[in-house]
Symmetry: none
Subunit: 204 residues, 2 copies
DNA sequence: CAACTAAATTGGTCTGACCATTAACCTAAT
DNA sequence: ATTAGGTTAATGGTCAGACCAATTTAGTTG
């Protein structure tokens, strides 16, 4: 009868912590009670409390500082997404799939930045491109572009894919190719840039 | 010098478990070593191992059965979604980012399937759509579409975002909307479908 | 008042113990 | 030989205590 009732202690602690936050109207940056306090108040062992806290931490909801305490922080899915993505990537390591998604993200960032690149940034990037060895061009440019676009989630996942697609034979392009891409984006001719980029990825 | 090196034990355990899964090519349903074995093999305390396992469990990547062991399972955000939804309410920027990526993936799957939907599948989906309540339409249709598209990476990440974006207010569409989307994809009119989809996501 | 020191607080980690659940094994009755 | 029942071993669930490491706080000293 009491099938659902038997939940683990760390899950109950999870609930209690949530209630605590709501009841005390805690905001980002506010401090939670210490692990020992929580354990005592909730009638649980400290290890159970820690299991709950570690889980929440991995989700990105709290931040722990040694010697100080545990603090609420604004939700950032990036860490957990990263973990999950790595697990998922392990399962589905189809290089095609990785490349397709990578191309998709790169195309998206080009769209996001279409006509949005300042002359300052443009010239700065151009000057670096000239000096960089060929094999670093792609990573460098898109790292900068994702950075400029400001979507950290997109950026995180792209970097992840970047890591996984390293061993994949990639048709390296020369400097003028990336200069052209950059120019197109700056001049709002994103479609041309996307097409050119697509050709680099030998899909199918 | 070794500032960044000092990561917590449970995080290292996380890594090791991931490596173990990769090395042994574990699939959904396969069993992980026992907590005690992991602790010994990784030279860590059992409590640290448990912290890692609990965190992964909350993410929905593993399943634990008392007396039996710990098992890999296909990713199902169950608890994490509930937790996150109560913890996170606002955080517009993060939501925006999740939504943007979600829309991007959905658009991509529409492209992938453009003109590729068999009459059989079309009619099958259509018949289900009619019977489904409004709030389940979106998830259902795209689950099926991602399934049909066959790109598991895309699919997994989408499901992931689907879980994370649950608490986000979503403008629900009626049945005819999704019937139209489906029809457009079947008839190779993907651009129309994408545009319509984009309007559902109120970005910016 | 500033600077240094000692103590208290807090998170990080390990060990060992015990309970609850499940699976595997063995034994005895049919 | 098969099956029912009970015992044993393995595994997760939980707690308590100890110790370390980082940080803050309180106290002391110059």
């Amino acid at each position: 009868m009491t099938k659902d009732t038997k939940s683990k202690v760390y899950q109950e602690v999870l609930e209690e912590i949530r209630n605590y936050i709501v009841d005390h109207q805690l905001q980002d940056g506010d401090r939670l009670p210490s692990e020992r306090e929580l354990a005592e108040q909730l009638n649980a062992g400290r290890s159970s409390v820690r299991e709950a806290l570690r889980a929440i931490e991995l989700l990105g909801l709290i931040e722990t500082r040694h010697g100080e305490g545990t603090f609420l922080r604004s939700y950032q899915p990036y860490y957990s997404v990263e973990i999950l993505s790595t697990f998922i990537l392990q399962e589905t390591r189809s290089q095609q799939e990785v490349l397709q998604l990578k191309l998709l993200l790169e195309s998206q960032v080009l769209s996001n930045l279409s006509g949005q690149i300042s002359t300052d940034l443009y010239e700065k990037l151009l000057s670096v491109i000239v000096e960089l060895p060929k094999e670093q061009l792609h990573t460098f440019l898109f790292t900068e572009l994702f950075n400029a676009a400001g979507n950290r989630l997109l950026s995180k996942i792209w970097h992840l894919l970047e890591g996984f697609s390293n061993p994949i034979p990639f048709e390296e392009q020369n400097h003028s190719f990336y200069e052209q891409i950059l120019l197109w984006v700056k001049e709002n001719k994103t479609e041309s840039a996307k097409e050119a980029l697509k050709k680099v990825y030998i899909l199918e």
